[in-house]
C-alpha cells in the first residue's frame, strides 16, 4: 500500500510528502517517488480483451469498483480502453458490478 502511495506521478501533490519527511525524520517520501509505468504500455498490450476476466481482475479490487489510474499507474489511453473492457465484462457477468 505504502509503495503505491509513493508512486504518485510527477504531477501528484508535492507538499504532503516533503512536509512529512521533515517532521519526524521518517522515510523521506518526496525523495524516492517511484514513477509508475503503465502496465499495458510496458507489456505492449494493444487490445484489452473484455473476455479475459483474469487479466481484468487486478483492476477491480474488493468492492469491484474500477481502480483509479492514480493508484494503478495505467496511462490515460489504456485506462479508457480498460474501462470499456470492464463494462463489457460486467454485462456478460464475467465480472461483478458490486460485491457486498
Amino acid at each position: 500500500m505504502a509503495d503505491e502511495r509513493q508512486g504518485r506521478g510527477p504531477s501528484g501533490p508535492r507538499g504532503r510528502g516533503s512536509a512529512r519527511g521533515g517532521e519526524k525524520g521518517g522515510p523521506r517520501r518526496g525523495m524516492f517517488r517511484r514513477r509508475k509505468v503503465c502496465r499495458f504500455c510496458a507489456d505492449k498490450i494493444d487490445y484489452i480483451d473484455y473476455k479475459d476476466a483474469k487479466m481484468l481482475l487486478p483492476f477491480v479490487p474488493e468492492r469491484a469498483k474500477i481502480l483509479p489510474r492514480r493508484i494503478s499507474g495505467v496511462c490515460a489511453m489504456h485506462q479508457r480502453k480498460l474501462q470499456t473492457a470492464i463494462m463489457r465484462a460486467r454485462l456478460l457477468a464475467l465480472l461483478p458490478y458490486s460485491t457486498d
Binding site: K51, A93, L94
Partner: protein, 147 residues
C-alpha cells in the same frame, strides 16, 4: 468502409437448456449470418461457467462466442432473435474490426520504430531510452533559444 465489418457475439444460454438447444441456437446464428451474406470466422463454446452475479434466477450459464463478418442489418436481426429466445439469458454483440485494426497498426508502428533504431545504430531500447533521448534534445533546444 471498404473492408467488411467484423463482429463478436457472446451469448449466455440458460443452464436448463440441453446441449441440443445450444446446438440449435448456434445453427440459427450461422443460418442468419449466411442469409445476410456474412461469413463465420470463429465459433467457441466456453462451456458452463459461474456467473459473477445472478441473472434472473440463474447462477451459472453456458457461454458461446461467435465471431463473424456482416452488416449492421445482420446484427440487428440477431439481436432481435436472441432477445426473443427463451434460452438466452444475456447477449452482447460488438463490432471489433476497428479496434483490432488499430491494435495491429500500433504494433506495426512499434516494430518499424524498432527497426529504424537498429538501422541508426542505436540500442534497441524501449520507450524509456527514447524518452531520455528526447529529453536531451529538448535541453539543447532550450539552450539554443537562450543564447
Amino acid at each position: 468502409m471498404s473492408q467488411a465489418r467484423q463482429y463478436e457475439l457472446v451469448y449466455i444460454v440458460s443452464p436448463d437448456a440441453t446441449e441440443q438447444d445450444v446446438a440449435d441456437l448456434h445453427a440459427q446464428v450461422e443460418a442468419n449470418v449466411a442469409r445476410y451474406g456474412g461469413g463465420m470466422v470463429k465459433s467457441e463454446n466456453w462451456g458452463r461457467r459461474k456467473l459473477a452475479y445472478r441473472i434472473g434466477k440463474h447462477r451459472e450459464g453456458t457461454y458461446v462466442l461467435e465471431v463473424f463478418t456482416g452488416t449492421g442489418e445482420l446484427t440487428k436481426e440477431l439481436d432481435r432473435r436472441l432477445k426473443v429466445s427463451d434460452h438466452v439469458i444475456r447477449h452482447l454483440c460488438i463490432r471489433v474490426d476497428e479496434e483490432l485494426r488499430l491494435a495491429e497498426r500500433t504494433k506495426a508502428r512499434r516494430e518499424a520504430d524498432q527497426q529504424k533504431r537498429i538501422a541508426r545504430g542505436l540500442s534497441a531500447g524501449g520507450a524509456k531510452q527514447r524518452a531520455e533521448d528526447e529529453g536531451g534534445d529538448d535541453d539543447q533546444a532550450d539552450r539554443a533559444e537562450v543564447s
